[in-house]
């Protein structure tokens, strides 16, 4: 037989056998996949940020189809996309308010003491391991920008004062910064929240005053002055209930360390006048 013919036949036969095996396998080992998973996957942002708690957008799509999570479980999807996803699986859409990340510390270099000079790896998680961080306050922001590096939406940057700054337009509340911070300083708050106590310290007032000028000393003045009873002192830390707060601003004026502020974070008027 012609050598060319042999070669053609042999390779053709191997190809055919492989093809046949594959098509048989595809039939025998067929896994039914709900087509809606792919459709929902297309509607989701595709950033695979993991903010929903699933491994990726397609994983979440599968969970939505199975009904494990509501159709608007993705924190980043637009309202339009959420509506279309809900329509796809025929479930009602529950309205949920948009959240953004907020940095719960105002202890910058000018206001918070440091115990030593940290020269190690520029990562808050590493700094936290070195005798609990260089900051005198064991609750405060270490300011090495681990949360900034973790943000895949470019919504965080390091401010000039050494504290991270959130860009509210870009923040999708995916929670990456919340999870990575060793001190849990970025937290998610509803966009409508008007007053925030920008501190996470549970130390008593005297201890806070020793290490930081802008910490919550748990004096309770804000709680007394609040007409809506929206502020509670929870283990020596003022916490504002966003559902009750009307943003009247009485607490801004009263707070002796000026740590209860408008949610935008700027210092209250009283302190500016004093300075």
């Amino acid at each position: 037989m012609e050598p060319v013919l042999i070669a053609m036949l042999a390779v053709g036969a191997i190809g055919l056998i492989a093809g046949a095996l594959l098509s048989i396998a595809a039939k025998v080992f067929y896994v039914p996949v709900d087509p809606r998973v792919g459709q929902i996957g297309d509607l989701l942002p595709g950033a695979n940020c993991g903010g929903c708690g699933f491994a990726g957008c397609l994983d979440l799509a599968g969970a939505i189809v199975n009904g494990q999570v509501p159709p608007n479980a993705c924190r980043c999807a637009s309202e339009e996309a959420n509506r279309r996803i809900a329509a796809l699986i025929g479930a009602a859409l529950e309205e949920r308010e948009r959240e953004i990340a907020c940095i719960f510390c105002k202890g910058d270099a000018a206001h918070a003491r440091r115990r030593f000079r940290y020269l190690g790896i520029a990562d808050c998680r590493a700094a936290e391991l070195v005798a609990g961080g260089d900051k005198a306050c064991r609750y405060g922001c270490l300011g090495l920008g681990t949360c900034v590096a973790a943000c895949i939406f470019d919504a965080l940057r390091m401010g000039e004062d050494g504290l991270p700054v959130v860009n509210p337009d870009r923040c999708t509340a995916c929670g990456a910064c919340v999870r990575i911070c060793p001190r849990h300083i970025p937290r998610l708050v509803p966009v409508s929240q008007k007053a925030i106590a920008f501190c996470t310290s549970h130390d008593p007032g005297k201890a806070v005053k020793e290490v930081c000028e802008v910490g919550c000393i748990a004096c309770g003045l804000c709680k007394k002055v609040c007409p809506e009873k929206a502020i509670e002192i929870v283990s020596l830390l003022a916490v504002v209930d966003p559902a009750k707060c009307t943003g009247c601003g009485k607490c801004f004026e009263k707070c002796p360390t000026g740590i209860i502020r408008p949610a935008t974070g700027e210092a209250p008027l009283r302190r500016e006048a004093a300075a």
Binding site: F29, V31, D123, A126
Partner: protein, 193 residues
């Protein structure tokens, strides 16, 4: 027994398929940004290379050589490896969903990986018996995974240290690291054939 032991040591360390034979450099850069993906890719490669190596050996001995068409080796081996990977993917998806979720994303990457193809060719070139093929393929793939894991560990540390100059971040520093690792592995050269 001793021969097999020597073969394993040679394939894993001395003639390492990535650093000495320069095969499979794409995943060395591509999937080593985290330990987790390096392990996943490594496991998938060990699995596929062993299967593909033996399958290619069988086809070579039973089809190509009797028909005198060894010159079609490249074409046929690629065909076999590609369909084998596809087959494994389909079977895994049905029978072992957890394994599929771990290995699944790496399987398509392996279809065109020259390391799998290279070790299959080496089996034929070095005139291995069937058992030798099995052992050599497995050991080559283990050597590959080992380097992948080393690289991922180094990269994770370098990234955490944050001392890499901006101009070298990412692929450049990875290639430099790969070169240094290659040099250190080259120190073992000549200890086995």
């Amino acid at each position: 027994m001793q021969d097999y032991l020597l073969m394993i040591v040679a394939a894993v360390f001395i003639n390492n398929i990535v650093l000495i034979r320069f095969m499979g450099n794409c995943p060395l850069v591509g999937v080593t940004s985290s330990m987790e993906s390096a392990f996943g890719m490594g496991a998938a490669v060990v699995f596929v290379t062993t299967l593909a190596g033996t399958a290619c050996w069988i086809v070579q001995r039973l089809v190509l050589e009797p028909l005198g068409i060894e010159y079609l080796q490249t074409l046929v081996f690629i065909l076999i490896i590609a369909s084998l990977v596809q087959f494994v993917e389909i079977v895994l998806q049905k029978t072992a969903p957890p394994l599929y979720r771990t290995l699944g994303i790496y399987l398509p990457l392996i279809t065109t990986n020259c390391m799998v193809f290279g070790s299959s060719i080496l089996n034929i070139k070095q005139d291995h018996t069937f058992m030798q093929t099995l052992v050599f393929s497995l050991a080559s793939a283990v050597g590959f995974s080992l380097v992948l894991v080393f690289m991922a560990g180094l990269r994770e540390r370098m990234e955490a240290a944050g001392k890499v100059p901006a101009a070298l971040c990412g692929v450049p520093i990875t290639l430099i690291t790969a070169g240094m690792m290659g040099l250190s592995f080259a120190g073992l050269l000549g200890m086995a054939k």
